[in-house]
């Protein structure tokens, strides 16, 4: 579990995150959503320690991240996996070398053992016959899956995904979402996903935080979001007329007034 208490972060005079508190639960997909510039990426970078918050606390299973020494942080980071928006794969390495890199760096396993583990995680993300390919030779969806494989190869306790669906087609996006959800449940890890993808919100959002101009505007689950009274959240999630109509139909369906085919009862 990751607990964020009254976190605040600014750059110069501009406050990007203002007094945000939240709890990211273990075994659940915790989503941070919001428009571009709402502070969600900065919040995630504060969570993983790439940015130092100006004030507030971040606790990983009760351990205060801000009070940890350099070595303690290093130790903690070994239990963190992260999928980056652009996948952040090492260009000069093959898929296999990319996934094996954390094992090379932090384990004393033999090459055969490491290769076995690499093949296991690549199979887990449904990626076969790509071991010897370079990142430039594979598609965006495959890169994301390699990124996930690299993030989970050391069995992390915490998984962070920064806009995992950006630049992907809807079908591949759903596959990535499904994969993140499965991995979270299967390994019982704390997953934090930073997204503005509507499908992700509805499919995997066990716990959703909506950020607006650096503030936490709303918090709830994907079941609750549909009934949210926050106008800003509604405008963000159900941005088009089509989505507004779909939302109303869903509400009626949930209230039992129409059947699944949209016929009035």
């Amino acid at each position: 579990m990751i607990e964020v208490k009254n976190i605040r972060k600014g750059f110069g005079d501009k406050v990007v995150i203002n007094d945000v508190s939240a709890v990211f639960q273990t075994g659940k997909c915790n989503l941070i959503i919001g428009t571009s510039g709402s502070g969600k990426t900065v919040l995630m970078k504060c969570l993983v320690g790439l940015f130092e918050p100006d004030s507030g606390e971040i606790c990983y299973d009760g351990q205060n991240f801000s009070e940890m020494s350099g070595e303690q942080r290093k130790e903690l980071r070994r239990s963190i996996g992260m999928l980056f928006q652009g996948s952040a794969l090492f260009d000069s390495m093959t898929v296999e070398q990319n996934v094996m890199f954390p094992l090379d760096m932090f384990t004393k396993d033999s090459y055969a053992e490491k290769l076995k583990r690499v093949n296991e995680v690549l199979a887990r993300v449904n990626l076969k016959d790509a071991n010897k390919k370079f990142p430039a030779e594979i598609s965006g969806g495959m890169k994301k899956r390699v990124g996930i494989a690299r993030a989970i190869v050391l069995n992390p306790k915490y998984l962070f995904c920064d806009e995992p669906n950006s630049g992907l087609d809807p079908q591949t996006s759903l596959l990535i979402d499904k994969l993140i959800k499965e991995i979270t449940t299967e390994f019982n890890i704390t997953t934090v996903v930073n997204t503005h993808d509507m499908n992700s919100v509805m499919e995997i959002g066990d716990n959703i935080i909506y950020m607006y101009q650096g503030l936490k505007e709303w918090e709830g689950s994907n079941k609750e979001i549909i009934f949210s009274k926050s106008q800003r959240l509604n405008d963000f999630i159900f941005a088009s007329e089509f989505l507004q109509e779909a939302k109303e139909m869903r509400i009626l369906e949930m209230k039992g007034k129409i059947d699944k085919d949209g016929n009035i009862k």
């Binding site: 790439l50 290093k74 903690l76 980071r77 992260m82 980056f84 260009d91 760096m105 932090f106």
Partner: protein, 250 residues
């Protein structure tokens, strides 16, 4: 950003490089990789520059030494000393500042922009130690070797040009090479080579590591790193000459 802020950040970057490696074997592998990249990768250009540099030195020295009272072997002495004292360490390092410097700056800049450095940080790896230190050490090991190779090839190029054009015979050149040779000059050349190696690896590493933005900024950082490295090489060249050459300092 002011000069002092940049200089302070540069010093902090250097300080940040010295931490315990997470896995010595991986760091050694990276060091060897960098030695190969910087050394083998620059060998071709160093060979070409050195041979022509020596050859041109011979022709131009012969052109200026018109007095019949000066023996022809003096040409070899002048070529030898200019190649060892100045051309090989300084000229080669200025060229390497372009070749090696732009490579280091753009490689690190690209890693920064594409979040590869962030990915390493999150894994718990000290990126300054893993990415910068091997490059710096490799440059310090390899560049003096390239300077020595350049010196030998420069002198050989000078001899070749002298004999091919008939300015002086091979025997006269060899005689001149051995006359008044000061081993201290080799020490001075190596002192310059080590200093320049540090400059042309750490300055581009600084500009590449702290790049912000996209492809355009990587290009700018790369250009800036080469310009600053070249200026610092020339500045250090003067400083070392003033400090280490006894007659120049007095």
């Amino acid at each position: 950003m002011s000069f002092f802020t940049e200089f302070g950040r540069y010093l902090l970057m250097l300080k940040g490089m010295f931490s315990r490696p997470e896995n010595g074997k991986m760091y050694w592998k990276e060091f060897m990789h960098q030695c190969s990249e910087l050394g083998i990768g620059s060998l071709g250009i160093v060979v070409i520059i050195s041979v022509f540099m020596g050859a041109v030195s011979t022709l131009q020295t012969a052109y200026q030494l018109v007095s019949p009272f000066i023996p022809l072997s003096t040409i070899a002495q002048i070529v030898r000393d200019t190649v060892i004292l100045e051309f090989s360490p300084t000229l080669v390092c200025i060229v390497l500042a372009g070749v090696v410097g732009s490579k280091i700056a753009s490689e690190l800049g690209n890693m920064r922009v594409s979040e590869q450095i962030d990915a390493l940080e999150i894994m718990g790896i000290n990126t300054k130690t893993y990415l910068i230190l091997p490059k710096l050490l490799a440059a310090i090991v390899v560049i003096p070797m390239l300077v020595v190779i350049s010196g030998c090839l420069g002198i050989w190029g000078g001899r070749l040009a002298g004999t091919l054009t008939g300015i002086l015979s091979g025997a006269a050149f060899d005689k001149g090479l051995h006359q008044y040779f000061k081993p201290y000059n080799v020490f001075f050349a190596l002192a310059k080579a080590y200093t320049f190696a540090f400059i042309i690896s750490s300055i581009p590493a600084y500009y590449g590591y702290y790049v912000q933005g996209g492809a355009l900024e990587i290009g700018r950082a790369s250009t800036r790193s080469v310009v600053v490295s070249c200026i610092l090489v020339l500045f250090a060249d003067y400083l070392l000459a003033a400090l280490l050459l006894p007659s120049a300092g007095s």
